[in-house]
């Protein structure tokens, strides 16, 4: 072993494809990976079947309790200004926040990966143009763009009551807007990895035997950036949850499907902080902090394990 290896700074071979179990074991061996995974597991279980734990989502109609009651034996987390049980809302909010986060992450990563691989692999003017656009999205305040885009797209698609993946159209618009505005850093990371892969021998071999660009990108580049994609997706998830929360907080959420951000918006606009009703915003707030923290912990642990450039930085 060289000194670099002894210090833990040299690459050690881990690959997502070569054993999910091995990766999971390595992840759980790290304290941050373990803590993050435990938190995530709890929230994923809660959001898989919230009605099993707290019954169906309460609405203004089904609410039974008094308004803004502090936590008690009947309502562990207290109630909101409509008399709904905060525990019920928080658990259902987990599902809504996580599903929106997941869908937004999928779109973000998909756009980022396609742009990154195409820019890196094809190169030339296409690369220059794509990277200009990427830089644009990287630098500008994308949140403000999202503020403008969301109502515009909502008015364009109309107020149809259709649901996609059990999510109302209003929130699907948010998902799409987050996807459109957040892919730039993924694209940059994937592009730089693609650039180095393009120089490697196996791509040349593929080209010699007459493989087309599309085939090489799908069959040779993509499997080799999957490590980066996984680590990046987990970190993107944290960002997506935060962005959704923030968009909902400024009034772009859907009161019929309250995410955590929407609950916080309701807490603020009903004056909960001024009334001392801490129980209104602490449960959804804690949910956001824990989930974002957990994704960040797992994401950076995965990044350490999987990203060739970052391995062993800590």
């Amino acid at each position: 072993m060289t000194v670099a290896q002894l210090q833990g700074t040299a690459p050690r071979g881990v690959h997502v494809g070569s054993g999910v179990w091995d990766l999971l074991k390595r992840l759980l061996r790290r304290p941050e990976g373990l803590i993050g995974s435990v938190i995530l597991t709890v929230f994923i279980v809660l959001s898989l079947a919230p009605q099993l734990f707290v019954g169906p989502l309460q609405t203004a109609v089904t609410a039974t309790a008094g308004r803004l009651e502090p936590p008690s034996g009947a309502h562990y987390f207290g109630t909101d200004e409509l008399g709904r049980d905060m525990l019920n809302l928080t658990v259902h909010g987990a599902r809504i926040s996580l599903v929106i986060g997941l869908l937004a992450t999928l779109i973000t990563v998909a756009i980022g990966v396609v742009v990154g691989i195409v820019a890196g692999f094809v190169g030339g003017w296409l690369d220059a143009v794509l990277m200009r656009i990427t830089d644009f999205f990287l630098v500008i305040p994308t949140f403000v763009l999202a503020l403008i885009l969301t109502p515009i797209i909502r008015e364009l698609v109309g107020s149809a009551a259709t649901e996609v993946f059990g999510i109302r159209m209003t929130l699907i618009v948010i998902v799409v807007v987050i996807g459109i505005t957040s892919w730039s850093s993924t694209a940059r990371i994937i592009r730089s990895q693609t650039l180095s892969l393009r120089e490697r021998a196996f791509v040349d071999r593929a080209r010699v035997i007459g493989a087309g660009s599309g085939h090489i990108m799908r069959r040779h580049i993509l499997p080799n950036v999957i490590n980066l994609i996984v680590a990046n997706a987990v970190l993107t998830f944290a960002g997506a949850v935060l962005t959704e929360t923030t968009l909902s907080f400024v009034g772009l959420g859907d009161p019929f499907q309250p995410s955590w951000g929407q609950l916080l918006e309701a807490a603020r606009s009903s004056g909960a902080p001024g009334l001392g009703a801490w129980w209104y915003f602490v449960p959804p707030g804690a949910g956001i902090v824990l989930v974002v923290l957990a994704f960040t912990l797992v994401g950076s642990a995965l990044d350490d394990l999987l990203n060739p450039k970052r391995r062993g930085r800590r």
Binding site: M1, T2, V3, Q5, L6, Q7, G8
Partner: protein, 368 residues
């Protein structure tokens, strides 16, 4: 604090210890003792809960004015040995046993603060690949002047003048001192690094692969420079390299390391003429020389052992063509024949020590 006081006391006292070059030594130094004696050094790393025995019982001596080459494949403990000498180890590494005596002073026992007194003023290091060893945001002149100002308390002007002289000494025009590292070629950077290492007039300069990243012509120039400086300044050198030709050209003695232990040690001429340890023989066969045909290059099959779980006996046994049963069970003792120390069961204590030669692997090996 203590160091500074003891220094001034040492200078003013009548009995200032000085070495053969007339350099002032730390007060506790005994000029009668050898320059550097390393005894049974063990440096272990802890990695993911495992203990890596990177250096595991290494002993050697360096005399004043001598050049010692430490050879071996990468990962056999050469650099860890060198870094141990001035305790520059990463935080997960520790010297668990042994002594490093500099004129009789055991550096292993020094506190973290006290060891600083010995760094650069007594033992300096030229690192490999001088690109990153030089700070990219500072000018050369300032980097060379830094130890002068910080360690020798020179004034800014004097330090700057001295830095210019040092640059000239290693063959860099004084006016290039204003340059940043990235503005220089690899060879120039390595020269600058050497100038830096010489700043405090140390007794020992350790070169850690000082020529590795350079092309052949520049390598030769750097080696020539080191050779000249050693002659002119009376330096003692420890040269760490995997390139045996560098040792053949520059060093008096060679120490071959394998998997954290000494395999063979002796005068360069003696060891190169008649290598005893099978590893030394393989190593010599593995490096090309001008006479030999490239095709005869012998490659040592296999790789060094995992030092978390090293083989119980001789660590080279799994790759050794002569491995006997005893080799896998008993650690070979170090035995000296004609001034050459070798640790191999082929040469047990009391034997005649006549070299047993490894049959060349592919066609014909080309040791000299």
């Amino acid at each position: 604090m203590t160091t500074a006081r003891s220094m001034s006391a040492a200078r003013s006292a009548a009995t200032v210890p000085v070495d053969s070059r007339g350099r002032t030594l730390p007060r506790q130094a005994d000029p009668g003792q050898p320059l550097l004696v390393v005894e049974n050094l063990r440096t272990y790393f802890s990695l993911d809960g495992d203990t890596v025995r990177a250096v595991d019982g290494v002993s050697f001596t360096l005399n004043q004015g001598e050049a010692l080459g430490i050879a071996g494949e990468s990962g056999c403990g050469k650099t860890t040995t060198a870094l141990s000498l001035v305790r520059l180890l990463p935080s997960n590494a520790k010297i668990v046993e042994g002594a490093i005596r500099y004129f009789g002073i055991d550096l292993v026992q020094k506190s973290d603060t006290a060891i600083r007194r010995y760094r650069w003023r007594e033992i300096s290091i030229v690192f490999q690949g001088a690109m990153n060893a030089l700070n990219p945001v500072h000018r050369l002149r300032d980097q060379i002047a830094e130890p002068l100002r910080e360690r020798l308390n020179l004034k800014a002007g004097a330090a700057r003048t001295k830095a210019g002289e040092l640059l000239e000494l290693v063959g860099i025009p004084k006016k290039r001192g204003g340059a940043y590292p990235h503005e220089l070629s690899g060879g120039m950077r390595q020269r600058a690094m050497i100038a830096m290492a010489l700043a405090c007039d140390p007794a020992i300069v350790i070169g850690d692969e000082p020529t590795t990243a350079l092309d052949v012509m520049v390598q030769a120039q750097i080696l020539e420079l080191l050779e000249r400086l050693r002659r002119d300044l009376g330096l003692s050198l420890v040269l760490i390299t995997h390139d045996l030709s560098v040792i053949a050209e520059t060093c008096d003695r060679i120490l071959v390391m394998y998997a954290g232990r000494v395999a063979e040690e002796g005068l360069v001429g003696e060891v190169f003429r008649a290598p005893r340890h099978p590893y030394t023989q393989k190593l010599l066969a593995a490096f090309p020389n001008i006479q030999a045909d490239r095709r005869t290059l012998d490659v040592i099959s296999g790789s060094p052992p995992d030092l978390r779980h090293p083989p119980p006996g001789c660590r080279f046994a799994p790759r050794c063509p002569f491995a006997m049963e005893v080799c896998t069970e008993v650690v070979p003792p170090e035995v000296t024949f004609d001034g050459v120390r070798v640790a191999c069961h082929l040469y047990p204590p009391g034997s005649d020590g006549v070299p047993v030669t490894v049959p060349p692997a592919p066609i014909e090996a080309g040791p000299r």
